[in-house]
Amino acid sequence: MEFPRPLAAPLAVVPIALIEGAVKLMFKSLLNRHPALFDRLGEHRGKRYAFCPLDLPLVFVVEPSRAAVLVTRKRAAAAADAVVEGPLFLLLALLEGRCDADALFFSRSLTVIGDMEAMLALRNALDGCEVDLPRDLGASAGPLSPLVSRTADAIRRRALAGENAAWN
């Protein structure tokens, strides 16, 4: 499922600092829940990884060594060692290990360029963790935790329906 265009379009004009602030909060929450997330990267921990959702006007660059995430507009060139492109919900499914990356590559749903060794290490690192975005994001939402988890879970179910992501 593609990210709905009416929701994606405004992101082109929302101040980037605002988007980056929200993404950083989610990223920090994820790392708090999974402190060993990048342990499997080994020598590739110092690389920069870019995630380019085809249905968003944004690029997310993750730097594991600094536990940092940067958000840029697509028109600005993002310096990265390895880049993966695909629909947002498939990228999130990969983060959770919910879809098989090789199968998505065979079906041409994903494109990977750059340092393949680094990208493979990251794929395996993510797959080795048990990220569950509704649960993990809900955990840091304080009193809103049940609402955040339920909403994120409902979005995930709808987004991945028909994507052969029946795992879990």
Binding site: R40, L41, G42, H44, G97, R98, C99, D100, A101, D102, A103, F105, F106, S107, R108, T111, V112, I113, M116, E117, A118, M119, L120, A121, L122, R123, N124, A125, D127, G128, C129, E130, N164, A165, A166, W167, N168
Partner: protein, 325 residues
Amino acid sequence: MELICPAGTPAAFREAVDAGADAVYCGFRDETNARNFPGLNFSREELGDAIAYARRRGAQTFVALNTFMRAGHEGLWYQAATDAVRLGADALILADFGLMAHVAETYPEQRLHVSVQASASNPDAVNFLVEAFGARRVVLPRTLTISDIARLARQIRCEIEVFVFGGLCVMAEGRCSLSSYATGKSPNMNGVCSPASHVRYRQDRGDLVSELGAYTINRFPRDEAAGYPTLCKGRFDIADARGYAFEDPVSLDVMDQIDALREAGVSALKIEGRQRGKAYVAEVVSTLRKALAATPEERRTLLARLRLLSEGQRTTSGAYEKRWR
């Protein structure tokens, strides 16, 4: 028949056990196994935890030490064997005769399986390994027909395990030098086939171009399913023709032949794919577990959806139903 399932990470291992594996095979995070990929495999502590997890649920753990030892560095393999035995591995899967001899002498009680990488495919070869090292099971290369397997089973004195689903290699397992030729690294010695460090993908006018070292492996038009960037699955210009010189980018699936394999004397069915993610492991293991108990008609329906997870999104019965010379 037992279902032997792959795991590249502890998360995939738990998925395999929960999905119904009789045994899970895995390796250490180094060149002692043929899936030495970045970010993959188990630390000693992770393997110990995995073995305990499997044992609580009645499943076994096989540890693959199936690369060939480098002269002068045998200690790495010996230590891996020592640690796997200490942690309680139910079997070691070995390819190197020197390592088999070491394990047989040092740990005579340890169950030893012959890896597909040893390429033991005739009665003399298999019986030698049984007599010399006490091998209890042989994983056969994917080069034999089901009739060949039945003939072999009558002449050997150990159990037989065969691959039934997953990636397919050229018919020179344990001896293939294609990756070594292109990159200097091979699954046999370094545990990596077409290492990611030598792989490059680029987009060219909508086509996906895959390169390995100095070689262009393939060019996939926009709507064509892609394959792995290995020389054996490369599409080349040869004389006036363009095509797959070695084999097509397809995966193995002989689950529709499991009754024949059982009758042939096969004890265990193996799924390839330690490099695949936990979603793949969970899906394939649970489907094949159901297929083992299903009727032939139900099996076809169950297995049809797995094709989408396969290389090139196509499957073949390979040499099991060999129709060529």
